[in-house]
């Protein structure tokens, strides 16, 4: 029951998808649609797991009066108020959408934009010419950056053409090799999961 049935469920779910795709008569039963809806419902319920985890982690910080615990108070208050507002008015409700558009969206894009500063220093560390491999990466990155930024074209008019050639030929070929490797690795892993050879996803769960 603890390991065998989940294994069986894995095989049944995988076979349902595969048979629905390859056999017309099975596809007519719409099993794929039903399975899609099942998984979406489970996916929706799983969001609560994140809420519980956040509540536990920040609840402990508040109980311990850990440094910066007031941030945790704010986090939990906003989390529950916003979640209840979302359930009450739907995500299309005026106040819910206002907060999303004018508070969450700017915060989110600014945090991702902030990475620009750190990625520059990371680029310096990663591309610093130590080995010939790092030099190759440095050149590729520089050609792409100079070909995309207006300053590149101001220095040399053909930077954009060189950038395009780099993207179309060596970059496309390198990515193709990587992508084909990923596909083959994915097929092997999916097959191992289906055959029950790959069980790491079951986790330790207390060793049972």
């Amino acid at each position: 029951m603890r390991k065998e049935f989940p294994m069986l469920l894995t095989v049944v779910a995988a076979l349902t998808v595969i048979l629905s795709q390859f056999f017309f008569h099975i596809a007519e039963w719409n099993l794929m649609d039903v399975l899609d809806k099942w998984l979406n419902v489970m996916w929706g319920i799983a969001i609560g797991l994140g809420i519980v985890n956040l509540s536990v982690v920040h609840g402990k910080k508040i109980m311990r009066r850990a440094p910066g615990f007031y941030n945790s108070v704010v986090l939990l208050a906003i989390l529950y108020v916003y979640a209840i507002l979302g359930l009450w008015t739907t995500t299309q409700g005026y106040y819910h959408a206002w907060i999303f558009d004018n508070v969450y969206a700017p915060l989110d894009s600014t945090v991702f934009g902030l990475v620009a500063f750190f990625i520059t220093t990371a680029a310096y560390r990663a591309f610093k010419v130590r080995t010939w491999e790092a030099t190759v990466m440095l050149l590729a990155g520089m050609i792409l950056l100079l070909g995309s930024a207006p300053i590149g074209e101001a220095i040399w008019a053909d930077w954009a053409h060189l950038r395009q050639w780099f993207l179309d030929i060596p970059n496309a070929a390198g990515m193709r090799g990587i992508v084909l490797g990923i596909y083959l690795g994915g097929f092997a892993t999916a097959l191992r999961v289906m055959l029950g050879l790959e069980r790491a996803w079951m986790g330790a769960m207390g060793g049972r």
């Binding site: 419902v41 995500t91 590729a140 990155g141 792409l144």
Partner: protein, 215 residues
């Protein structure tokens, strides 16, 4: 050049002030880690998680309960609800193994989906690799030859079961490594560009929409 802030109390101005202050709160991190940044960070996490509750409920759970379960009496839709609730058993050690049930459905679906639907894009990638060398211009032909050689070399690099000690395999593998490094360098350059794009978008919002300096 003069500042032209929107009215804080107007319907049009309040959103701009909110967005601009949120942006500035995050940017304070550029000076050093500080309480304002940490507060903004916590607010962002709270809103992201809180938004997910409403979104997932109305997108996935509500339609199934109202339309399928109650509307059409399809009782078997109670099964995913129960399986979904099994995920929470990981907080109770004695029955935590029940959480494997919903996970097994996800994993099985993912494996099946990969095997059933990814064969086509995989094969299209393979066929697209066999390019025609017959091009109207000589540079076109040369480009296609270089492209084909680069693909072969990058694939050779991933052959771990064949000895690279033979000169032909060794050189091909070395060329493959260079090609892959170029691809990764270009990928990194693209990421840097995208992040700067986001930053410049926020900068133009603060200077233009909020301060009114870019009119």
């Amino acid at each position: 050049m003069s500042f032209d802030f929107p009215s804080l109390l107007s319907a049009d101005g309040a959103p701009v002030w909110a967005a601009a202050l949120c942006t500035l709160a995050i940017w304070t991190f550029l000076i050093r880690d500080n309480p304002i940044y940490r507060l903004a960070e916590h607010v962002m996490v709270a809103l992201a998680a809180g938004w997910g509750v409403g979104y997932y409920y109305y997108s996935y759970i509500h339609p199934v309960i109202t339309e399928e379960l109650i509307g059409q009496g399809r009782w078997f839709y109670i099964i995913p609800i129960i399986l979904g609730l099994f995920l929470y058993t990981r907080f109770i050690p004695s029955v935590s193994w029940l959480a494997r049930y919903p996970m097994s459905a996800y994993i099985g679906y993912g494996a099946g989906y990969y095997l059933a639907f990814n064969a086509k894009p995989f094969l299209s990638q393979v066929t697209a690799s066999f390019v025609s060398f017959s091009q109207p211009a000589f540079t076109g032909t040369l480009n296609q030859i270089v492209f084909f050689i680069c693909i072969l070399a990058s694939l050779v690099y991933f052959f771990f079961t064949i000895s690279k000690e033979r000169p032909a395999m060794g050189y091909a593998s070395q060329l493959g490594k260079i090609v892959i490094l170029i691809a990764l360098g270009a990928h990194f350059g693209n990421t840097v560009l995208y992040r700067y794009n986001l930053f410049l978008g926020r900068l133009s919002y603060v200077l233009g929409e909020w301060m009114g300096l870019l009119q």
